[in-house]
Structure formats: C-alpha cells, structure tokens
Amino acid sequence: MKMFNIIKAELSKYMIEVKTYYPDHIVNMIVTYIFFAGFFLEFRNYAAVKDSYYIGFLYWFLAANIISEVSVSISFEKQVGTLEQLLLKPVSLEVICLIKTLTWLAITFIKVMVLFIVIKLTLPINIVFNIKIIPILIITLIGLLGFSLLLGGLTLRFTKTASFETILSYILLFFTGTIIDINSMPILFQIISKSLPLTQGILISQSLIDKQPVFFSQMFLLCINSFLYFIIGISFFRYIYNKSKVEGIWNEY
C-alpha cells in the first residue's frame, strides 16, 4: 500500500515535469530517433551481421538511461535543497530512489517501444525479437539498479558526479559487447567485461535471438552477477548514508 503511494507520488510528479519541460522531451525523442536510426542503417549494410546485432545497443541505451538516474535525482534534490525533506519521510531514501528509477525506466521503456515502432514504419530494417529476452532483461536490470545505487551513494557524498557517469556509460558501451566483440579482446579486458552488470545479459539475449543454445552456467552467472551488484549497491549506499549522518552533509551547492 505504501509502495503504491510512492509510485503514484513519483509518477504524477514526473508527469508534471514532462508537461512543464515538454520541449526538452521532444528534443530528447528526436535525438534518440536519430541515434537509433543511424545505428540501424549503418549495420544494415553488413550482410555478415547477425539478427541480434541491435540487442546490445538496446541494453546499453536502457542502462545508460537508468544507471545515472539515482545520482541525477540525488544531485538535483541536493541542489534545490529538498533532499532532507525526503530523508524525513517514513520510507527510506534508497526505496524512494529505486522507485524513482523504476518510474523513469518504465517511461524510457515506453519511449523506446514507440521509437522502435516508428523506426520499423519509417526505415527499411528488420528487427527480430524473442519474448524470452524479457526475463533476462529484468534480471539484468536488477544488477543495474544496484549499480545505480552505488553511483547514487557517490553523489550523496560528492554531489557532482555527472562527468564520471558519462565515462561509465562509455565504458559500458565499449566493454560489454555492445559494439565490440568481447572474445576478441585481451584476456584481462574479457574478465573485466564479463563482470560488468550488462555483459551476461547481452550475451544470453544475443544467443536467444540467434536461436543458439543458452547454457545453465550462463544463466547462473547472470543471476549471481545481478544479485551481487544489487547487494553491493545497497550496502555501499547505506554505508555512505550513515557516514553522511555523522558528518551532516545533505545540502551542498
């Protein structure tokens, strides 16, 4: 019941934001369309590319949108000075942040779906989808939420972490198999790559689309990976939160 209240609070506040700043959202949609269209048109020219080429990119797009959401919210609340009011509510800050992120994710997801339909209608390309990707996506997202909380913890402490997040989103783009094949990387990078929150999810989803077998060990790795990221994220966030309560730094400009 309480959760439902918070979701409602965030959703309707978000809708007001969309209404207030609608030109920003229109621009954002157009940029995303160009981004996706460019990507699809570019890859369509290579006959060797598999049907699954796009899925890594889709994962990355969702990830890039949500990993920074907790930090962006916290940084915003810190700057306008309302963060302390959120701390003074009977729900914990990480729950509020997670719900903010999920709300944002749901809206991003709808945006992406709309874009995909528009792309399919306006461009001569073929998108292959497999419904089994949905659960894989959800498990991957849990890990990403943990990652998001981890970054949120940093923002709680340091306020300005936006540039750091941009670097991270590029790391995710290059090292998770989104555009570069992991198996052609040096072994050290392969290890780093496979422990990032996105990689396993992308690999499994690619196999699903290309109708290749998915091994139990892969699923196991994905679940462990996501679970660990989630636990680490929450613990780190809690740790910074308690430290901030000792030092008293909630609002900083």
């Binding site: 609070a9 007001i16 306008v80 309302t82 302390e84 009011q85 701390l87 509510k89 008293g248």
Partner: protein, 319 residues
C-alpha cells in the same frame, strides 16, 4: 514529557579539525509547549534540531521520544513529527502548492482522501487556499514558509520542529505566523520546537526558552523568568521637592538623576527588590512630599539577549 535529551554531544570533523558544537546538553520538552532554542549564529541550534529529528548522528548521548530512543523507532518516528528546516527550500518550486501537498502527502503514506481533506483545511487555515494552484516559485517568502508548514502538518504530527520560520517575513506575515503557531500549540496540542533570532517572535510565542552558547545550555526557563532575572527593573520616579543626591543615595545605589528644576526631581533607578521602592515611597509620604509619577519599565527581550550574548550571563550577577 514528550522529548528527552540526555547528555547530547556533537563534534564535527572537517579536514582533521574537530569542532565541539554541543557539549553534553540535557533537557526535556513537555507535551504541548512551545519550546524555543536561542543563541547566536553558529551556536548549534540547527545542529540540535537535526539531531532531534535523526538527520544527524550524535557523537554522544541519547534522544528519547516518549521514552523510546529515536534510533530504535527508526523511520516510524517521521509519522510522529513534522519538520521545517532553515531556509525556503523545503518544497519544489516548479510544482504548485497543491501538487507539493499531494507529492509529500503520498510519500507520508497518507490516503488520497486524507491528503485532500487535511490539505484543504490547512490551506484555508493558513490563508493559501486561493493560491493553491500557483507555482511555488512565484510565491512570496511568507507564502512559501506557510506552505512548508502546511506540508509538515499533513499527517497531524505530535511535534513540529521549526528552524527560523519567520526569517525574511514582513511584519504582517510575521504576526500571522505567530498566531498560527500559538493556535497549533494551544488549540491542537501540538508540541512546537522553534528556533529564531527574532526576539519579538520568541517573546510572543515561547513558553520556555533555552539559550545555547559555547556548546552548553546558558539558560533554560520561561520567557518571564528570563526577563525578570536579567532585565534589571528600571523605575522612573518624579517627586515635588528638590532632593539632593545624598538624600536619594540613602535609598538607591544605582541612580540616574534625569532632571532637577523648580522643586521637581526626576530620577531613574535600577533595583531588584521592591522593598527599596516601598521604603522610599513610605518616607516620602511621611515627609508629605508628593510623588507625582512612578512607572516601571523593563528591558525588552532583545536588549536582554544582546547583553546576554555580548557580555555572557555572568555579567548579570552584578546588576
């Protein structure tokens, strides 16, 4: 007793420097009273409020709400208290008043109907009902402050914490705010803990005042006691006789002769004991000297605070 503070200390550590802001302070707040925390800039008023609302962790000591440590109560504590912190940034400026109410009410876990009913009631009480659909960014400082308080009252808290609620308000808004705060405490039984630098506000609302200084409690009692204790009662007396200094000195130590002309003497005296006044008046009557004027005036709370902060409480002992 609704809130009890036991040997509370807070030390801030910044760049390896330590600053002891509160040094083992103990006091309690009674249910339904308006408790005012005073002290100069940096005395630790905001720090104390943040400790009492569990936004800060004490270095030492305990805070008990209804005999339970607030850290064990956890997040449920926030259904019992309402907090408006320093400044006017407790609300979202890009939302309207009513949208703010809805958002924060939902975060409090209140039902839609409760939020609507209580919200409208409070908007009317604070005179903001007409403006409820305006963006808060366009509100005056006073209106923003009122909205912050409305939001902190949505869930009918038992204690309301207000950190400088009248800062930057004009005289009318200030008086209005004073009245509203009194109403909440006296009619609705809300305990109010308030900090302010405006002595006229404190004088009008506070049941008890606590003065913080150098990390310690310098004074804690009612406003009347503070004034009586430190104001040094000042009397203005006019008699129809030319009294010389020696005669006056028989009765009073600290005298200031204001005027002496045409058989009239006007004197200003500072005394703590009414006995001296009585013996003076008694003798005047015996000697058939007319006393045409006698009035008592007190220092304002503002004067007292000024002396208190400037000179320290010790200097009052000599008065």
């Amino acid at each position: 007793m609704i809130l009890e503070i036991k040997e509370l200390s807070k030390t801030y550590k910044t760049n390896r420097k330590k600053q002891l802001v509160l040094d083992s302070v103990s006091f309690h707040v009674d249910k339904g009273e308006i408790f005012s925390i005073l002290g100069e800039n940096g005395a630790g008023k905001t720090t104390l409020i943040k400790l009492m609302v569990n936004l800060l962790t004490p270095s030492k000591g305990k805070i008990l709400y209804k005999n339970m440590e607030i850290t064990t109560i956890g997040k449920d504590y926030y259904t019992e208290i309402g907090v408006v912190l320093e400044g006017n940034r407790n609300i979202y400026w890009y939302l309207s008043a009513y949208e703010n109410i809805l958002y924060f009410g939902r975060l409090m876990g209140l039902k839609e109907k409760e939020i609507r009913e209580r919200g409208e009631e409070l908007l009317k009480f604070f005179g903001l009902y007409e403006d409820k659909d305006k963006k808060v960014g366009n509100f005056s400082r006073g209106m923003q402050q009122k909205l912050s308080i409305i939001i902190s009252l949505l869930h009918e808290p038992k204690i309301l914490f207000l950190d400088e609620p009248t800062l930057g308000l004009d005289v009318v808004s200030k008086m209005d705010m004073i009245e509203k705060i009194k109403h909440l405490s006296k009619e609705e039984g809300v305990t109010v803990i308030i900090t302010s630098h405006q002595m006229d506000v404190v004088e009008k609302v506070a049941d008890r005042v606590m003065i913080l200084g150098e990390g310690k409690i310098q004074f804690l009692d009612t406003v009347d006691k503070l004034i009586n204790k430190y104001s040094g009662n000042k009397y203005l007396i006019r008699v129809e006789r030319n009294l010389d200094d020696a005669e006056i000195k028989k009765y009073f130590d600290t005298v200031n002769v204001v005027r002496r002309e045409n058989d009239i003497t006007e004197i200003e005296v500072y005394i703590d004991s009414n006995r001296l006044i009585n013996s003076f008046l008694g003798d005047m009557v015996k000697r058939n000297i007319y006393v045409t004027h006698i009035s008592k005036s007190q220092d304002s709370l503002e004067d007292i605070m000024y002396k208190f902060l400037k000179l320290g409480s010790d200097s009052f002992e000599d008065v």
